[in-house]
């Protein structure tokens, strides 16, 4: 085997029961948990240390954020549906759901864009106060993650999907891990939303 044949790319490892990429993405998610964990810890420390900290709902646009929450949740469903479609061998449906997922992701970013624009007009900037600092930094970082997810999904919808013909299993595996990442981003928002907007 002078060529590097790497095992468990398609087939799960007999003992661990997972493929390399699945394990890899879960480890990546673990590191992401620590990243956002640190952000949340900082948020707590800063907030308890500052008597003048406003309630999110007094200054932020709740309806808009609620809409965004709904969008993201829906996109999670379509994402998992696109995977299920592959499992049911319906490539056409996969493409449809994946497309919807991507569009929803974009919708989320657009709404976020409006939200930011409003803040800037009312000249509220990160430097305005630590509240806005935290608000922009955390939602901004989360936004970047959404963007990353959109790009990855675009890849799988287009160029990446060629793999379906040659290695269907491998392709399904990738859609699953892409989904894992996407759901995680959704999951982060599920905490961001109440703790920054509603409290």
């Amino acid at each position: 085997m002078s060529d590097a044949v790497i095992h468990y790319i398609e087939e799960p490892h007999p003992v661990t029961g997972v493929t390399n990429s699945k394990l890899g993405v879960w480890l990546f998610i673990a590191s992401e948990v620590m990243l956002f964990g640190a952000l949340f810890s900082s948020y707590i420390v800063l907030r308890v240390g500052d008597a003048t900290w406003p309630h999110g709902w007094t200054v932020l646009n709740i309806p808009l954020a609620t809409l965004n929450t709904m969008i993201l949740i829906t996109s999670s469903v379509t994402m998992v549906m696109s995977w299920a479609s592959l499992a049911m061998n319906r490539f056409d449906r996969f493409r449809l759901y994946m497309l919807v997922t991507i569009l929803l992701g974009c919708a989320f970013m657009v709404v976020k864009g409006f939200e930011y624009a409003h803040k800037f007009e009312a000249d509220h900037f990160p430097r305005t106060s630590n509240f806005y600092g935290v608000y922009f930094t955390m939602t901004g970082l989360h936004g970047l993650h959404v963007l990353g997810g959109i790009l990855a999904n675009l890849y799988f919808l287009t160029v990446g999907s060629k793999l379906w013909k040659t290695h269907p299993k491998m392709f399904m595996g990738r859609i699953e891990v892409a989904g894992l990442y996407w759901h995680f981003v959704d999951l982060v928002w599920i905490f961001l939303f109440p703790s920054i907007y509603l409290l």
Partner: protein
């Protein structure tokens, strides 16, 4: 993927759960927003918000991310991570709280 082995019927079942989870998530979102309009006292508001968020998060993790049927290895990784994460938050919080200050 062990899921690949799944027969279309099972996948159909999956799909139904996904829809159910979606409804639950949407509902809980409405609830948490609704509660926020009651302007409860900080302590209660925080607890309620966090409990609801945790429920939603667990739904996503369990069903969309298939944790409910996931392999031990993955679960262990997550357990270790959560432990580290929680200890970080708590320790930072309490150290910060215990800092010596002049009361003047």
């Amino acid at each position: 993927m062990e899921h690949a082995a799944h027969s279309p019927e099972e996948i159909q079942k999956h799909v139904r759960t996904y829809i159910a989870v979606f409804v639950a998530l949407a509902f809980l979102t409405v609830v948490t927003v609704g509660v926020s309009y009651l302007h409860l006292t900080a302590a209660i508001a925080v607890t309620v918000a966090l409990i609801i968020a945790s429920i939603k998060a667990s739904l996503v993790a369990a069903y969309f991310m298939h944790l409910i049927s996931e392999k031990k290895l993955i679960l262990w990784i997550l357990i270790i991570t959560m432990a580290t994460f929680v200890s970080m938050i708590l320790i930072i919080f309490f150290t910060n709280k215990g800092v010596m200050h002049v009361v003047s």
